[in-house]
Symmetry: C2
Subunit: 453 residues, 2 copies
């Protein structure tokens, strides 16, 4: 508890997002039209996304993109967020490592998701859009977008993965309190949902399925756009405010990270904390390691294949070059609902293929053990998703102890777990399990995918 | 959402608590031994409380009391907290009033309670105490003390009011995750609990009953002290860090409050935000108004009697001079569990008697309406307790609008409501009610009390 915070002022909130694409040694392959297999232009994406977001998605030339004043004003509700030296955790681990975390849990919805929600709602509003749709897993993204949509006066429909809808009723209530419509997915309100419910009546949903429903509703509703909380380049772009602030704060602490760690679902928070630091690897100034921590039950980075795949279950989206378990992969019902996604965004997939970042997969029980230790050492009960980053951090800190050498570790605490206490109850009661993914599961779900040459 | 935060640095965390007792024009009457009716000395309180806390309780000479370094270090986990100009709410109300709130919800347990929990656990530990007990209503205090106890290596047993134990299971889980024992009160583990359960098997509990159980357990356990989250002078003392920080932040904003508002259960957060400002009323420098916002279903300040009463249901505590509804008063099962207490602390009671502070009582539905408006305007979902302060703020802001004159309002957002979403669900579903307290209820419960004169 002798934690030490490094605090910035509102004037230190970044004025620009960092776009990693221009700096990448090898850029990701283009996203493709599934019918023609031709690369898509920004204009091709306009029917689905706000135009400015479509342009950001494909922008591989502008390194810095200005944050609109209206977005930055809203960031001021909770940003800048603290950087904390985790002395309590260090002491519990008796490690020579210095552990820092960026505390994104202080946002009013309890996670980093608001960074992109505000930007996406803003660009939709600016363009005159009146309705938006989205999907949400654990509800972190849905809660964030509900708040952003209310602020900018947009009507919002959220498809919430059914297992989370029941596991995390409080996040549903939060969205409703902000004024959003929330539908458990799969639902009978879309063709995609009806097909799945007919085939598999008890299916508890996945992010891939919820995306299909949200896309279908957006495409069939007048003046309506679809928004996504992870995976896409423009989402990673908006999340770089995390790493840009952390960079200044690490300077205040007089250290530079040897290792940067984030949990991994589709990539939004990992990208946010990592990209501003990895640019100094690209320039040769530093040689930090970057570790994405994913669930052992949904191990796209460590065990997926690198192929073109759909972003959703029904195959409505463009084809994306990704490390994937296959868009029909059905992840186990772990409590880290935000990490139950079959694929990784194209930038992170490319970086992983090129050996520029690492990944670890972590069993559910190890994440809750790490979370409980962190709660007792640092006072903050972490989200089950973020607990994957904590578990990976603990592994690195213990390795430093074995090797008897100091090491500076920075991880992103993407959110708090105060709304996930039912999961902690199950853990305390001994009711949680680990889940295995077999090589056959992966092979079966990926065999029909488009090869990446 | 164009809120503007006023942020301090860690060095601005107060180094001393402000003790209002020496400055009061009329000091509260002494607390009494119920058997002898003689005033109690600090030594008389040593069996129940840590010695330093007992001394603080009766200290009416030292205006400033040093905050120990270990306590201040732990405050750094989340303090200083932001002061926010609530421009979103102002706009929704179309009021000329300037509304500011001190955001105590950013603590890792989501409320201001940690300010005193850390101090109390510290003084217990320093004295060599190994076990502590307490009660909790909504669970805010219990969660805070669980974290503090774990940090200082104390065993903790928490009696949680039964209605909250079931309404707010997540707060129970939070306490357990931090390592505390949690027992629904009334329970069969104490004489006081067994007596009530025998008389009224379905009784859903009250803070008064839970205090009786916690006191009884402390008195019958070796090396064990009792701790309390509100009502007492030393709790108000610790909470003054809220107002002391807010004072600096209002200076940064270039304003001084005309009105200071806090919700009111036993007094901890109202005292914390008010006392540092009321001292400038005592000195004649300012003439702010101070408004305590209590539930209409538990209206001790607006409709209670000013008499000596017990702090608990069974009559284990000293006699306290208070505005009270009677220690056997059984409040309705409103969702603001932290405000379901029969009496006000002796300092606030005296200030109210002397016309130096005001009080308003607010029906449950008005508080949820105010809370929803605040959530949509400012992004933060408030605790049902804090929503009483918001409702009182809205009344004042609308009055300013009617009168067509500017006014600066400061209120304390004592906590967030992310763990109270079941209450919001009920509100959205139209299932919540207001509750009436009749004059007969009050008369029946207070007729046997000790007269103060």
């Amino acid at each position: 508890m002798e934690s030490k915070k490094f605090l910035l002022q509102e004037r230190d909130i970044p004025e620009k997002w960092y776009n990693v694409l221009p700096d990448m040694p090898v850029k990701p392959r283009p996203i493709l039209n599934p019918a023609t297999k031709k690369p898509l232009s920004a204009e091709d994406l306009y029917p689905l996304f706000a135009e400015e977001l479509a342009r950001q998605e494909l922008n591989d030339t502008d390194r810095w993109i200005e944050i609109p004043e209206e977005v930055r004003d809203m960031y001021k509700i909770w940003r800048p967020t603290p950087l904390v030296r985790a002395r309590g955790l260090e002491k519990m681990l008796d490690t020579p490592a210095h552990i820092y975390f960026k505390n994104e849990s202080v946002s009013p919805v309890g996670s980093h998701k608001l960074n992109s929600a505000i930007a996406q709602a803003y660009y939709c509003k600016k363009q005159g859009v009146t309705n938006i749709t989205t999907e949400t897993g654990a509800g972190q993204w849905g809660a964030a977008l509900s708040l952003a949509a209310k602020h900018f006066g947009l009507e919002l429909a959220v498809y919430m993965v059914k297992v989370s809808y029941h596991q995390k009723p409080y996040r549903r209530s939060i969205m409703q309190t902000y004024g959003a419509q929330v539908i458990a997915s799969p639902s009978m309100s879309t063709k995609a949902g009806r097909r799945i419910l007919t085939d598999t009546p008890n299916y508890q949903g996945s992010l891939g399925t919820a995306i299909s429903e949200a896309v279908e509703l957006a495409m069939s509703t007048p003046n309506c756009k679809y928004t996504l909380g992870s995976v896409l380049n423009h989402v990673s772009l908006h999340q770089t405010v995390i790493g840009l602030e952390a960079e200044k704060q690490m300077e205040m602490a007089g250290e530079y990270p040897d290792v940067v760690i984030g949990c991994f679902g589709g990539g939004s928070n990992f990208s946010g904390i990592s990209f501003p630091f990895i640019r100094h690897n690209f320039s040769g100034e530093h040689s930090a390691r970057f570790i994405a921590a994913e669930p052992a039950s949904c191990p796209k980075l460590t065990r997926g294949v690198f192929q073109y795949d759909f972003g959703d279950e029904a195959g409505y989206t463009p084809l994306i070059p990704m490390l994937t378990l296959g868009h029909n992969f059905s992840p186990a019902n772990i409590h880290a609902g935000g990490l139950r996604y079959h694929g990784a965004g194209s930038i992170v997939s490319q970086l992983k293929q090129d050996g520029l970042i690492e990944a670890v997969d972590i069993p559910q029980l190890e994440t809750f053990k790490a979370a409980t230790m962190f709660a007792r050492g640092e006072g903050i009960i972490p989200a089950p998703e973020s607990s994957h980053a904590i578990a990976a951090t603990i592994r690195e800190a213990l390795k430093a102890k074995e090797e008897g050498r100091a090491k500076t570790i920075l991880f992103n605490l993407s959110g708090h777990g105060l709304i996930d206490m039912a999961a902690y109850d199950s853990y305390i009661a001994g009711d949680l399990s680990n889940y295995e993914v077999t090589d056959e599961d992966v092979a079966r779900n990926t065999e029909s995918l488009e090869r990446i040459i």
